[in-house]
């Protein structure tokens, strides 16, 4: 009873332009009219940002109010009568527009925003056709905000959307209003570059041409481009977006709205990655290596060569002597076909989990989502295990921040680096990689104790039992128990950790004991699609690691760069280098790929091709080809069909992509997944010994071949500097200081890098990130590493 009464009093009925509308108490007029599709002009209001009410463009006429009121900041009231088009409202809006234009330059023809400018549009509707302003307009000096955002601050109308975005959503508070009155300028004041990994969103938010897309600037007009709906392909979220295309070329990228996925935001990585397509080492035509020299050739020759290579290895040594490694970022259909090609050639060695090193968990690299990721915003406790979520999946990081910001969620983490997050952490367990399993075991021990449950059988139980949880571990467990909607998130570090299976099993013990949701992220974009498409080894097959540890005679590489994308680059290069034949289907060919491959087949990769991606929440989303690939490049499914056909294999007689897509079993997407509880695993490493371990996380803009080639991203603040991150105490022990150069080596290969002292790195480990030019000769991401003094 009470609840219905409550609901009734919570509803407010008002009349807008004669139309009866209802809204919830506390809502603003503009929220109700937006829902009803009644148009009220606005500049500063944005539904995801706090209300500033500083532009006054939304003035409406409210009955009995002495003057027009801002619709964005006037709460609705019972019986309120609002007129959005009355004389008084229109007069007010016209007046505001005239004031806004006083200092705004009339330079639309040379403004990048021209044609898609909120101010231009509204000025058409509400502005005067002749300016009465004859005084001088003000001019504002521009700042350099970095490689992604261009500024023309003279055009700024001080709506503060950018300021509020960076403060509230991005959490970096990098822009502010400096000065006041006519001298007010939106600026960083210090001339610092914008650091947020979500910075590009201020371009969409800016209603005028003050903040525009720097690498896109002056290259096309809005009306010359067509919008192609697509999705982001650089993390497992799959943000919805549009590519704006002119003449077959992607000119820029903007977000599409999807509340369940990216809301209305886009990470800089998804927004600016497409500039990578302009890189010089794009594979533009089929190539074969003849006597160690690369030659351009036609498709027939190259395919025949590739077919011969694979056929001969199979005939001589059997199908199992072939290995198939696929970048997870391939489409689900390509994954299906690579797996099919492998099986048809008699090989079960197909895998996409290139950076994973522990395969003892049968579901390694497969997502498990007890709650969908959009629910994270509503969580009240989140425990991040092995996850630099802000870099690995920037918009999932935003979800965690939202939970912390709006829901007071207690966020905790167990990580090998005290990464800088945009939320506060209630507890931090920062331990070197070799201690992560033990530490999580202590959290599990605490969880079992407070839940009064007993440890599981086998080695897993033995690992947990008799642990003495430190206060931070007990607090983490307690915070999870006390929360109503708690989530444990296993991120990319946990996935790629050499004891990933232990971490996953321990997390499961905690989740079961405390009855909280477990979310295991699947790794890079479309890892989930690859799993469900069956691009994982068959029963007798070898996984991505084993395929390289037990070298195969022939390999097929699908859109990957072994020196950057594999768990152990040194090993990968060795095994590929020693193989008899390597067929590479690739969109880009860097130095190392050219060295190991024998045939190069030019790939039209996403988003130049159709196909589907499956995100962490098991949503299958379709990409339509947005850009025109180089003339001679072909989509993966066509290349694989031609290869299969040429080899006379069964199952490659389809003629279009739909036939391939139909082979994907969609029922899997909704099927519930049973997580096996592994009780017996290999003994975990323990961190007692003195050896230093490497922390080899993948930097924000190094994850795949496209982002690594995007010039604007590589020039931005987050481009990775190849350095050795080290805790000051380790540095002291080794007798080195900041900026000294040191040699680090793994498996006999060494590189010399300068040292950066960083108290955020735990003693006992040094950070040498993966997928960088310098680390390409090194070995595994999370493994012992030798450090010796070099010359300073």
């Amino acid at each position: 009873m009470t609840t219905t009464e409550q609901a009734q009093t919570d509803l407010v009925t008002l009349e807008v332009d004669g139309q009866e509308l209802t809204g919830r108490k506390g809502e603003m007029i503009i929220q109700v009219t937006d829902r009803a599709g009644i148009d009220i002009p606005r500049f500063c209001y944005h539904h995801k940002l706090s209300i500033a009410a500083n532009c006054r463009m939304c003035l409406v006429d409210v009955e009995k109010a002495p003057k027009p009121l801002p619709a964005c900041a006037t709460p609705i009231a019972e019986g309120m009568k609002v007129f959005t088009e009355s004389r008084r409202a229109m007069d007010a809006q016209h007046g505001v527009m005239e004031f806004l234009l006083i200092n705004h330059p009339l330079d639309c023809p040379i403004c990048d925003q021209g044609g898609e400018c909120e101010l231009q549009d509204l000025a058409m509707g509400y502005g005067r056709s002749v300016s009465r302003f004859t005084e001088r307009k003000r001019v504002v000096k521009d700042e350099n905000l970095g490689s992604l955002i261009s500024t023309d601050m003279t055009r700024c109308i001080h709506c503060t959307r950018c300021v509020r975005f960076l403060e509230e959503i991005a959490g970096t508070a990098e822009l502010g209003g400096m000065g006041r009155g006519e001298n007010l300028e939106i600026s960083t004041f210090m001339g610092r570059h914008i650091q947020s990994e979500l910075s590009g969103n201020v371009i969409d938010l800016c209603p005028v041409g003050a903040l525009t897309n720097k690498p896109f600037r002056f290259s096309a007009r809005a009306w010359e481009m067509s919008a192609r709906s697509s999705i982001g392909v650089h993390d497992c979220l799959g943000s919805n977006l549009y590519y704006h295309v002119r003449g077959g070329r992607i000119m820029r990228c903007v977000p599409d709205e999807n509340e369940q996925i990216n809301e209305c935001w886009l990470s800089d990585r998804d927004r600016y990655s497409h500039f990578g397509f302009r890189a010089e080492d794009r594979v533009e035509s089929p190539r074969i290596k003849v006597d160690g020299k690369w030659q351009d050739t036609d498709w027939d020759t190259a395919l025949a060569e590739a077919g011969k290579a694979l056929g001969s290895v199979r005939d001589a040594s059997g199908g199992q002597s072939l290995g198939f490694l696929t970048s997870p970022r391939a489409t689900t259909e390509d994954h299906l076909l690579v797996a099919a090609l492998g099986r048809a050639l008699g090989s079960e060695n197909t895998d996409h989990r290139l950076r994973v090193s522990d395969f003892s968990h049968p579901l390694a690299g497969r997502a498990r989502m007890d709650v969908t990721s959009d629910q994270w915003s509503k969580a009240d406790a989140i425990f991040l295990v092995g996850s630099n979520i802000r870099h690995d999946q920037p918009l999932l990081g935003h979800r965690v921040r939202t939970a912390w910001r709006l829901n007071n969620a207690r966020v905790m983490d167990l990580n090998p680096v005290a990464w800088k997050f945009h939320f506060d952490l209630a507890e931090r367990l920062i331990v070197p990689p070799q201690n992560m399993v033990e530490t999580l075991a202590r959290v599990a021990a605490a969880a079992l104790e407070i839940a009064g449950k007993s440890a599981p059988d086998g080695k897993l139980g033995a690992l947990i039992e008799n642990r003495e949880p430190e206060p931070a571990a007990s607090n983490a467990a307690r915070n999870l128990r006390d929360a109503e909607n708690a989530v444990i998130v296993l991120g990319d570090v946990a996935l790629n950790h050499p004891q990933g299976a232990w971490l996953r099993s321990l997390a499961q013990v905690i989740a079961d004991a405390l009855d909280v949701a477990l979310c295991v992220l699947p790794g890079p974009a479309n890892s989930q699609g690859a799993w469900l498409a069956g691009n994982v080894p068959g029963e007798k097959g070898l996984d991505a690691r084993a395929m390289l540890e037990e070298p195969r005679k022939g390999y097929v590489l699908f859109d990957l760069e072994p020196e950057f994308d594999c768990a152990d680059p040194a090993l990968a290069m060795k095994s590929l280098g020693n193989a008899e034949k390597v067929v590479a289907i690739a969109s880009f060919a860097g130095r190392d790929l050219l060295e190991v491959a024998d045939v190069l087949l030019p790939l039209a990769s996403v988003p130049e091709t159709d196909g589907s991606f499956v995100n962490l929440d098991n949503r299958r989303q379709w990409l339509k080809a947005a850009a025109r690939p180089p003339e001679n490049a072909r989509p993966g499914w066509k290349i694989l069909r031609m290869l299969g056909h040429g080899l006379g294999l069964e199952g490659f007689d389809f003629v279009n992509l739909n036939q391939v897509a139909g082979r994907f079993d969609e029922d899997q997407l909704s099927a519930s997944q049973t997580e096996p509880m592994l009780t017996d695993l290999d003994d975990p490493v323990t961190g007692q010994s003195k050896t230093l371990w490497r922390i080899g996380d993948v930097p924000l803009y190094a994850g795949d071949n496209l982002v690594r080639r995007s010039a604007p991203l590589q020039e931005s603040a987050h481009a990775e500097q190849s350095r050795i991150g080290m805790h000051p105490s380790d540095a002291e022990r080794l007798g080195v200081t900041d900026a000294d150069r040191l040699r680090v080596s793994q498996g006999g290969e060494a590189v010399e890098l300068s040292v950066e002292l960083d108290a955020g790195i735990p003693p006992g480990a040094v950070r040498v990130p993966m997928a960088t030019c310098h680390s390409r000769v090194l070995g595994q991401a999370f493994a012992p590493i030798e450090v010796e003094g070099g010359q300073s």
Binding site: E167, G176, M178, F423
Partner: protein, 173 residues
């Protein structure tokens, strides 16, 4: 609520002990938490300015941000907003001449002109010998009854005439 990784970490050490105590005193007057600390920015800057001979350097703004643990941009906003806070080096003595309506009606423009020509500087500038700083245009300083008026080093001087101004200025060391 905010959590930011700060580019100003470690700068707080630039503040003197007196300033820190002064800031602590003001922080205590506001509710706990980030917004409360934000409220203390004005007083913190004011104190830092006094310690620094009348103006606040960018390093000092960062120091205040670090000490108060607030995003540095918030501090820059405050420092640039208030005309009592100077962000450029200034002369030893500060003169603010009110030019708001009452003073304007009573001839403040004449006073400004007189001072400018006497010192050979425009408002917003300091004399070359570093003796006098003439503030940018000032709004009503709440002494309309004695218009036109000016403030010199915190002291009010009312019912000004060019002669009276000469007398006051000549006394400045």
């Amino acid at each position: 609520m905010q959590a930011t990784d700060s580019p100003v970490a470690g700068k707080a050490e630039l503040l003197t002990d007196e300033t820190r105590q002064y800031i602590d005193h003001w922080v205590g007057k506001f509710p706990e938490g980030l917004e409360g600390r934000r409220s203390a920015i004005i007083q913190a800057l004011f104190s830092a300015q006094q310690d620094n001979g009348g103006w606040i350097s960018q390093d000092l703004m960062d120091a205040v941000a670090d000490y108060l643990k607030v995003p540095p941009v918030w501090v820059y906003e405050v420092a640039t907003f208030y005309s009592m806070l100077e962000t450029e080096p200034t002369g030893r003595h500060s003169i603010s001449i009110c030019t708001n309506i009452s003073c304007m009606l009573c001839g403040s423009q004449k006073i400004v002109d007189h001072v400018e020509s006497k010192l050979g500087i425009k408002t917003g500038q300091s004399t070359e010998d570093g003796r006098v700083f003439l503030k940018q245009e000032e709004e009503c300083l709440a002494a309309c009854t004695g218009a036109p008026m000016m403030i010199v080093d915190g002291h009010y001087h009312e019912n000004l005439t060019p002669e009276k101004v000469d007398e006051i200025l000549d006394k400045l060391e």
